[in-house]
Amino acid sequence: MPESDELKRSVREFLLAGPLRGELAQNVQDDLKLRTSGILDSIATVALVGFVEKRYGIEIEAHETGIGQFDSIADVVVLIERKLSQAKKGS
């Protein structure tokens, strides 16, 4: 399973290449609220979900991306780690 730091970097890279193109990495901290602050709109959130699902071969359910969840890079990584460890146990 990839390390947390590796997962965080990959999510941050996706944001810096897409919805936050042109931003400095230092301005996108792990705990930055992305959705409740309005930085990512619904379309950008859907793109992020799609990226994570494809990259890590996991499936994210709608209830896991509700308001207050899936809000920061840290939140996203916790969800990826949980999904990956469930998949590992299941195999």
Partner: protein
């Protein structure tokens, strides 16, 4: 044409409540529901409450409420009281909502829990604050008073005012009468042949004109109106499941929502065979996602509906299926609706030669009454010809002998994004209010399938590098989500033309190889 004979939209509900009292009229996002009798009763109570609170015929009643049984009851109650309803974006910035509600001077305002911020800072012109709970529990008018009120109804009464993005940075209130709406509702009856067995989706928020079809065509025919909440409306996976579970037969939304539904393999997992009619409007549907959709849901009929809020739907085209593999050209906007007259002409309404591009002008009974409180604009809004008022839509079209009307583009700086009409000047006006920014100019870029990207070009007041995160966060408080720029580009100073105007051509070319 199946003419309702109604003079007021509320009469459609009243007629259905007599014919189908126990049928389900409306299902809320939380799946609570009202029968026709119950909805009509609630609307009667709301009307009596409004009158008791001093609302008079011709007054405006505003609401900032989520999609639900309350908002439907209130808009019908307002119309029963012969007031016009003014819905504002439940999730929109408080300052923008307040400026709309203050512009049309709402007499009474309903605000849902959590949006008390809309009520602040109104100043001396603050409207009375309505209570949803008190309104729907209020005693209805006695039979005599109710009859007097119903008798006084007139098709020329304003039914609602819908605010659209304005070129000066201020939203404009489009005034529509009951007669304007009813002629469109009757056209829908003729075209889509709804029955009481139909189940209509209601995806558009009530401040968006797509909601007119959902609400009134559905309730006119005693059908079931299924409201889609704000969160569900943005979630393609859950939305697909919801369509299957609710067995929706008549869908209406922007193409962007439908395109999103095709992207997550969700349609493959659910049975959407209940869909009989899929209508889309407000922007061009790129062919690739439309092809995907029509293949995934092959038994539905697909209609492209076209028309600005000012005219309501005025042209339509049924999409012939199947959509060919090699088609890339978008579908036409098609033929004029039976209640509209149209012509392709120049800016002075001189007819274009057949087949040549020109502006689409519309006349007919669905034409709006003008913008609220904009006498200067209204004075020059319509051109009279042969006793008819003509309205210039500002859309450039071409009349093709085979396909009918083909949409070419907007002439001014208005763009459609996710179905919302956006005036780029309004975004600039907002950005220019940001204390960190010195200059701001906005361009809209067509990027094939994903519709329109809004790119803001800005320069800062200080030497410090600007942060995109900070700008996006700021925009979230200043603009509706549909108007927030996707991308930001930083400049020391914006490029200018020789007359010292922002050089938009240079901005559009930014980042492309010359």
């Amino acid at each position: 044409m199946a003419v309702s004979g109604a003079r007021n939209l509320a009469e459609l509900l009243e007629a259905s409540a007599r014919l189908h009292p126990d049928a389900i009229a409306v299902v809320a996002p939380d799946l609570s529901q009202l029968t026709y009798r119950q909805l009509n009763d609630r609307a009667d109570r709301v009307a009596a409450y409004l009158i008791a609170r001093g609302v008079a015929p011709g007054d405006r009643v505003g609401f900032c409420l989520p999609k639900g049984l309350a908002s439907v009851s209130i808009l019908f109650g307002a119309m029963k009281a012969r007031a016009a309803y003014v819905p504002v974006d439940w999730q929109g910035p408080a300052a923008r909502n307040r400026s709309i509600l203050a512009d049309c001077g709402v007499a009474l305002l309903f605000v849902g829990d959590g949006r008390e911020d809309v009520l602040k800072e109104f100043g001396a012109a603050a409207p009375r604050n309505g209570s949803v709970a008190e309104a729907i529990a209020h005693a209805p008018l006695d039979a005599g008073a109710n009859e007097t009120l119903a008798h006084a109804r007139d098709g020329k009464d304003l039914a609602y005012i819908l605010y659209t993005s304005g070129s000066t940075g201020v939203p404009n209130g489009v005034m529509l009468t009951h007669a304007n709406a009813l002629v469109f509702v009757d056209w829908c009856s003729e075209t889509f042949k709804p029955t009481s067995a139909d189940r209509f989706s209601s995806h558009a928020p009530f401040h968006f004109d797509l909601s007119v079809l959902d609400l009134y065509v559905s309730l006119k025919h005693g059908a079931m109106l299924c409201l889609i909440g704000e969160e569900l409306g943005k979630d393609p996976k859950s939305l697909t499941k919801w369509i299957a579970q609710q067995k929706i037969t008549l869908w209406y939304s922007t193409p962007s929502v439908l395109a999103l539904l095709t992207e997550f393999n969700a349609i493959e997992r659910h049975d959407l065979s209940s869909l009989r009619i899929v209508n889309f409007a407000s922007e061009v549907f790129p062919v690739a996602p439309l092809r995907r959709l029509t293949r995934l849901v092959p038994n539905a009929s697909y209609f492209n509906l076209y028309g600005p809020t000012e005219t309501n739907v005025c042209t339509f085209a049924q999409i012939p299926l199947p959509v060919a593999d090699d088609r890339t050209r978008p579908y036409p906007i098609g033929a004029l609706c039976s209640h509209c007259e149209g012509r392709v002409a120049d800016a002075r309404n001189n007819l274009a030669k057949r087949g040549q591009e020109g502006l689409l002008w519309i006349a007919g009974p669905s034409l709006f009454q003008g913008y609220w409180n904009r006498p200067d604009v209204n004075a020059a809004l319509f051109v009279e010809d042969h006793g008819r008022r003509w309205y210039n839509t500002g859309d450039v079209v071409r009349d093709d002998p085979r396909d009918g009307l083909i949409f070419v583009g907007r002439r001014d700086r208005m763009v459609k994004r996710r179905g919302y009409r956006i005036e780029l000047g309004e975004i600039e006006a907002a950005l220019q209010r940001n204390p960190e920014l010195r200059e701001a100019a906005v361009v809209a870029l067509e990027d094939g399938e994903a519709s329109v990207t809004i790119r803001a070009h800005v320069s800062g007041k200080h030497d410090a590098r600007l942060s995109i995160v900070a700008l996006k966060r700021w925009c979230a408080g200043a603009l509706p989500a549909s108007m927030s720029p996707d991308l930001f580009v930083f400049h020391d100073a914006l490029p200018r033309t020789s007359t010292d105007k922002v050089d938009y051509q240079a901005l559009r070319k930014h980042g492309t190889k010359a």
